[in-house]
Amino acid sequence: MSLLRQVWSWFFNSAHWHGSNGIPVRLAEHVQISAESVVIGAAIALPVGILLGHYGRFGNLAINISNTGRAIPSFGLLVVAFQIFGLGDGPIILALTALAIPPMVTNSYVALREVDPDVKDAARGMGYRDLAQLLRVELPLAVPLIMAGIRTSAVQVVATATLAAIIAGGGLGRYIVDGYATQKYDVMVVGAVLVAALALATEVSLWGLQQVLVPRGIRLLKAPASRKGTTFKTA
C-alpha cells in the first residue's frame, strides 16, 4: 500500500511536471517516437498489403516476410542499430518500425482479399476501372480490418517505445530505467502506469478515428436489426 501512496504523491509533486525529465516532456518524446515509427511503418506496410491484397498475388510471401519481423526481438534490433547509427532517435525508430510493419501488412492484405467478389464484379459491371475500383469500392470496405491492423501496431509500438531509454533515449521508459537504476520503485511504477495509460489512450483514439473512417454503409450493416430498418428508410 505504501508503494501506491508513494506513486500517488509522486504524481502530485509539481517538480515532476516540468523540466527535461518532467512528465509533459517525457510524454511528448514518447508520443513523438511512437507516432514517427507508426507513420513510417504504415507508409511501407499499407501500400504493400493493399496492392498485394487487391491483385491477390504473392500474399503468402509478403505475409511470411513481414512475419519474420515479428520474430526479431525489438531489443536485439535496437542494440544492433545503436552500434550502427549511434546515439539518437534513429535506432529506436528503426526497431519500432520493424515491429509496426507486420500487423499492418497482414491486416491490409486480408482486408482487401476479404472484399466480397460479388461487390467487385458489380463495380466492374458499373464501369469502374481498376484504380477507381480499388479506391472507391474495395478500400472503403476494407477500412475496419486495416484500422484494426494499425491499432494493433500502434499499441505494440507505444508499449515497446519504453526500450528507447535503454540506449539513452527519452520517453516514458526513462522513468522505468532510471527508477530501476536508483531502486526507486515508485518511479518505475509511475513509468509503467503512464505507458499503460498511453497505450489505452492510443487504442481508444484510433478506435474513434476508425468510427469516422468506416463508410456509413458498413456501419449500417453491423447495426442492430431494429435500427437497420429505420435507417434504411431514411437512407
Binding site: F82, L87, A168, D178, A181, T182
Partner: protein, 305 residues
C-alpha cells in the same frame, strides 16, 4: 592510413616482444641464486595483470623467483588467497581495499595517505601490509573532449564551477543520487549543470554521447584504455571528491622485507595514471600481452639498468 599505423604498431609490438625476451633472458640467466619465491596475483581485468607483471618482473630482476597467478578473480577470491598465504602480493586500490577489509564501513576518503593508513590498520592483524601508494589512480573521473577543454581552458574540476550551467553532464542513471557524482560535484565544487543525460557508467552510451556532442562532461574511469584514442581529457579532481583509489601493493608482512618494499615502492613512485592509460591501451586495444607491455615499460623507465 589505418593500414600504415597498424603496421607501425605491429613493428612496435615486435620490438616489445623482442626486448621482453631479452629482459627475461637477463633475469633468469643461469648461475643467479634466487633470493626466495614470491607469488604475485592479479584481479580478473587487464590493468591488474599489467600491474602484477610490473611488480613481478621488477622483483625477478632483483633476484627473486616469481610465480604469477594472473586473472585470479575478483577481490572476493584474491583477498582470501592472500590471507591464507596462497599468494604473497597483489596490486590493490587503496580506497576499495579499505572498504573491502573494513566490510564497507565508509572510512575511505579522497586523502590517499589517510586512506592507506586506515587500510594498514585493518591489514595488520591479518599479517598483511599496504606499501606506499602510487600516484596512479583508477577511480571515477569526469572527462571532457579536447575541444571542450580548449574552448573553456579546462584542466581540473574546479574550472567547471563558473561554466557548468552551459554544459550537459552524462553518466549512469543513478548519478543524480550518488554522492560521488552529480550531488558531490554540486556540494564539493559548486557545479550546476545545464542538464543531465542518463547514459551508462563508463560504457558505449557515454562514448557515443561524447561523439555526437549531446554531452560535454561525462563520467569515466581515470585509467580507461581508450581515453587517448577518443580524445578525452580527464579533469583533475583537485578537491578530492572521489575516494583515493591509488594503486598500492598489498603484501604479506613476512614477504615484505625492506628489499622487496624498496623494489615495489620504486615502481609505484614512477607510475602515473597516464602510464596506466597507455599500458591499458596497449593491452586492451592493441591486444599486446600484459607481460610484454610491462617489460617494455620497465625497460623504458630504466628499471633494468
Amino acid at each position: 592510413m589505418i593500414r600504415k599505423t597498424g603496421s607501425t604498431w605491429f613493428i612496435a609490438a615486435l620490438t616489445v616482444l623482442v626486448t621482453a625476451a631479452v629482459a627475461c633472458g637477463g633475469t633468469t640467466s643461469p648461475g643467479t641464486t634466487s633470493k626466495g619465491t614470491i607469488t604475485v596475483a592479479g584481479f580478473n581485468f587487464p590493468e591488474s595483470s599489467i600491474l602484477a607483471e610490473l611488480y613481478g618482473q621488477a622483483l625477478a630482476h632483483d633476484g627473486y623467483t616469481v610465480n604469477y597467478k594472473l586473472l585470479l578473480g575478483t577481490r572476493e577470491v584474491v583477498a582470501p588467497a592472500i590471507k591464507s598465504g596462497q599468494i604473497d602480493l597483489y596490486p590493490g586500490y587503496a580506497a576499495t581495499e579499505l572498504e573491502y577489509y573494513n566490510s564497507g564501513a565508509g572510512e575511505a576518503t579522497g586523502d590517499v595517505t589517510a586512506t592507506t593508513a586506515k587500510l594498514n590498520g585493518h591489514l595488520q592483524s591479518l599479517g598483511l601490509e599496504a606499501l606506499t601508494p602510487s600516484a596512479a589512480v583508477d577511480q571515477n573521473a569526469f572527462a571532457v573532449t579536447k575541444a571542450t577543454a580548449t574552448k573553456y581552458s579546462l584542466t581540473k574540476l574546479s574550472d567547471l564551477t563558473p561554466i557548468g550551467n552551459q554544459l550537459v553532464l552524462g553518466a549512469g542513471p543513478e548519478c543524480p543520487t550518488r554522492p560521488f557524482c552529480q550531488p558531490g560535484l554540486k556540494t564539493t565544487y559548486g557545479i550546476t549543470f545545464k542538464d543531465f543525460k542518463a547514459l551508462d557508467t563508463d560504457g558505449p552510451l557515454t562514448r557515443a554521447a561524447f561523439k555526437n556532442g549531446s554531452i560535454q562532461v561525462g563520467l569515466v574511469f581515470s585509467s580507461d584504455a581508450d581515453l587517448n584514442q577518443l580524445g578525452l581529457v580527464v579533469l583533475q579532481d583537485d578537491k578530492h571528491l572521489e575516494n583515493a583509489d591509488n594503486v598500492v601493493p598489498i603484501i604479506r608482512q613476512t614477504v615484505a622485507t625492506s628489499e622487496v618494499s624498496t623494489v615495489l615502492n620504486k615502481i609505484d613512485a614512477g607510475l602515473t595514471t597516464a602510464d596506466l592509460v597507455t599500458m591499458n591501451g596497449q593491452v586492451e586495444l592493441l591486444h599486446q600481452d600484459a607481460d610484454a607491455v610491462a617489460a617494455a615499460y620497465l625497460q623504458q623507465h630504466k628499471f633494468f639498468s
